[in-house]
Symmetry: C2
Subunit: 377 residues, 2 copies
Amino acid sequence: MNFSVIHKDSRTAARSGLLRTDHGEIPTPVFMPVGTKASVKSVEPEELTAQQTHIILANTYHLYLRPGNGIVGKAGGVHRFMNWHKPLLTDSGGYQVYSLSELRTIDEEGVRFKSHIDGSMLYFTPENVIDTQRIIGSDIMMPLDECPPWPAEKTYVQESGDMTVRWAERAKKHFESTQPHYNHSQALFGITQGGTYADLRTQVSKELVDLDFDGYSIGGLAVGEPAEEMYRILELSHTVLPENKPRYLMGVGTPENILNAIERGVDMFDCVIPTREARNGRVYTRNGHINLRSARFAEDFTPIDEGFDNHVCRNYSRAYIRHLLNVGEILGLKLCTLHNISFFMWLTRTAREQIIRGSFREWKDSFLQTFNAGKQS
Amino acid sequence: MNFSVIHKDSRTAARSGLLRTDHGEIPTPVFMPVGTKASVKSVEPEELTAQQTHIILANTYHLYLRPGNGIVGKAGGVHRFMNWHKPLLTDSGGYQVYSLSELRTIDEEGVRFKSHIDGSMLYFTPENVIDTQRIIGSDIMMPLDECPPWPAEKTYVQESGDMTVRWAERAKKHFESTQPHYNHSQALFGITQGGTYADLRTQVSKELVDLDFDGYSIGGLAVGEPAEEMYRILELSHTVLPENKPRYLMGVGTPENILNAIERGVDMFDCVIPTREARNGRVYTRNGHINLRSARFAEDFTPIDEGFDNHVCRNYSRAYIRHLLNVGEILGLKLCTLHNISFFMWLTRTAREQIIRGSFREWKDSFLQTFNAGKQS
């Protein structure tokens, strides 16, 4: 993996770059649709490509449970298993251990937890999580970390952050002593923690930078803290993280969060918002989001976003999609999902173009003004 | 609409033909995927086209309830509403009135029934069902009929059949006194009833032939009677129905039923089997159907039907689709659906090619032998 910053905005920390992997190039800033269980819900890989998706995310925790390492390994990795031949990033599963599993006990060695599927007892260590990601074959891997809730006591965040650094060091060592299973190379990012405590975040970030990862994920944000707190931590991260490595803000977010993070030097994003909200009928337009379940769209034969040039807007009306959602047709969920993915890809792609053109700040302000003025439900 | 029989099999009643509509030509024999509520569940119109689908079916009863004539009319008909620009056939809704609604009372004038959606009282007559199909804009319309259950007393089937003929006459009169709402012509078929009583079926068929419809649907079959009873009625229908009009066997069926009906002179079929069974994981192969939910496919990385050249078999393995079904991913339902549609389209397309080539009988016997030998679940 190789990353170059290509353009730097003169007035903000925003930058455009190019991330090269053996499965192809990723122009940044970039949004990564979430394909937790080796499927971006309801859409086919070639449909993602048609919406200019460059990279997707899958989840180590979920794939480890089902279909499991045995099947993924026999399939020759997740790219081949799901027929996605562009870059793939995997989360370590640390976050899911805390959010989904029961009876977890964590110690220096790793985390023991009960599967939320069948109740069996499982054990994740920094080393075996790398092994699983070797089997998955993701282009970009994440180390096991601990993600504290917000708010949390400083002492706890400090101890947890220190352990996350020690785990990162073990992960890197194991990463360096193992090889990819397939014919492509894999990169390993470090995940910064430290909550919203500036000194702790700085300390963890610096220690990870000393370990020299291929890129840096900013973790433990978007967990309930006010957006301003998150932005403050991003500004701090910008000064501590090396300029020539990609920065990935995990689990973010709304269009506003994404643009504000790009302005603060973030390159990569993933979030379930476009896909999860789509399944509830919420779709994104340049004039805010709307909920197509609403009866007010029953006779609205315009596209979701008039003049927005994507597959869904070219072919279907709000009234038709509203009908599909209203009668429980699966196709409604799929069309909303595909539209939202297309919208989020357009958002980060346009941000990139505006950075290159030197007009990012003006475009962002203008976009958000229109977007927030129109936001409806 | 215009129909020509192009090839007649010398040893059976099978024939290949061409049905021309303003939305395009339909080579027969043909299978019509079911898009009850203006959506073939989980797939997009362009995906149907890619699987060589020539015509789909929608349902007047369901569309009348939701989205309703007001919205369909404002959309400019169902073709535009759902973005399907090839031929569309609509069932009259008669069958659904009997199978889904409660508290129906039927008299000479029409049928009064309670909506299964909101409990409101509704009224279908031969005339207003034509009006609704004018609003839908289907290329081929069906008249309101009564479909008796099987078995049923002869007296009841006779009285019901007589009424269906009188309703067909009223439907035809109303059809002739009204105009299409859009820029394409619409055809009206007659639906034969009479159950499995040869004399009644013959009588109803002859009376409908005297009324001179654009084509003839064979109704009231595939409602629980033994297959041999159905085949006997098809053989009888072949002798009574005019050779130069298309024949549509409603609601049929399995690959075996379809091929046996083609052999007896049927041109058109619709059935929920490929789409409904797909959503339960059952997929069709030339070696029988299999259920992809089964654990025995967990590590089977071959396509659904090795060597079958369609989108799903080219891109996905049994193991991947089994995983999708196992973890509840929508994409699993969609891939099974798309495969089964492709399989049923292949079945009738191949039957047509074999009729033209003069080898229908041999091919059918050989196909069914392999198919039935391999059938698993």
